[in-house]
Symmetry: C2
Subunit: 173 residues, 2 copies
DNA sequence: GATTTCCTACTCGGATACGGTGTGTCCGAGTGAAACTGG
DNA sequence: CCAGTTTCACTCGGACACACCGTATCCGAGTAGGAAATC
């Protein structure tokens, strides 16, 4: 019942990509460097995000990853399911239908009560994750630590920093 | 992010023990037979329940397991945590404090927003499991399939069935 | 016949193997940009 | 100077090992009950 390490990395990566913006792809290696993570393994997680349609990947030089849609439309649940898979944590194997006193076919039409409880609990969990988007998290961070978004943007895009920031064109927006 | 198989078995076992009653211990082998499960492995799960104080174990002949307290005071969360452990699924490794642009010490005083969201989701999950007791589940089953509790009781305690039921003393209560 | 002792069978409990999944790494296919060449 | 071509470095993508935890099993410690021996 432990969540994959990759989920944490993936969410952080999404946050960074949200701040960098959709127009400048960021390589997996650079994302990994920012958090001191194994590059190849983070790349694996990013591939999962790409398969899920959360990020878009562009190969070749000047390639990398970028958010495939606005951060407001990416929920935490989307990211978690992209990495973990959508299979529920509790799987009912219907052991009540086995053994010397099995539940009758008619009884088995009703869902197993235990599975129902577990399903309700997971639904509550999913609901909570679904109600929070990457944009929400990004805003929360920005409100508490206003310097972070610009700092991240600058680090990931030094060229644009040199140009845009000195000309005061975009970053202050 | 998959829950242990043993959780399902443990909950079923608790249900059976609740129906059998606290006075007649049931062996792990017999509980396993009822659902066609590997006896030794179910025994392991029951040991975990015993360590958590959910069931009481008595060794020796005529020994076995029984609920240590009324089913109304055993929540689903108790059983899940007894098997799975109480460590949360998501563990924040604070990668934001690593890398070339680490979060400052002052920033780190605020909890990581990602961890907060995950924590809220797990709290909702736990709350849902905490609000449902073994007695609740047992009642739900009994209301939909009234014959089940007595059937289970009889199968696990044929001696008392021969005596008590024929004399009509306890089982109809 | 009652009591004490011993023994045996039975139960849980923890220590011990095995397999699957998460973790981590590597190299190849594809691509875009830059450099070079010829007009 | 400009257009076309070639080369090349760079990126993702999937295939390949390693390790840890869940799964499954076994045997030993402890106990209660009964049988046997004794008074």
């Amino acid at each position: 019942m432990r969540m994959n390490q990759g989920v944490e990395w993936a969410v952080h990566a999404c946050l960074h990509l949200a701040w960098v913006g959709p127009d400048t792809p960021v390589t997996a290696a650079r994302l990994a460097e920012f958090n001191d993570l194994p590059p190849a393994y983070l790349n694996k997680q990013l591939q999962a995000l790409a398969r899920a349609g959360i990020v878009s990947s562009t190969p070749g030089p000047r390639g990398g990853f970028a958010l495939a849609r606005p951060a407001e439309h990416i929920t935490m649940l989307d990211v978690v399911e992209a990495i973990e898979g959508a299979t529920p944590a509790f799987v009912c194997t219907e052991i009540r239908q086995r053994g010397p006193l099995p539940a009758s076919k008619r009884s088995a039409r009703n869902p197993c009560e235990i599975a129902s409880v577990m399903s309700r609990a997971e639904a509550a969990w999913r609901h909570e994750l679904e109600s929070e988007t990457i944009a929400d998290v990004a805003d929360d961070v920005a409100s508490k630590l206003p310097g972070v978004p610009q700092g991240v943007r600058r680090w990931f895009n030094p060229a644009s920093t040199a140009v845009r920031v000195r000309t005061g064109r975009a970053d202050t927006a």
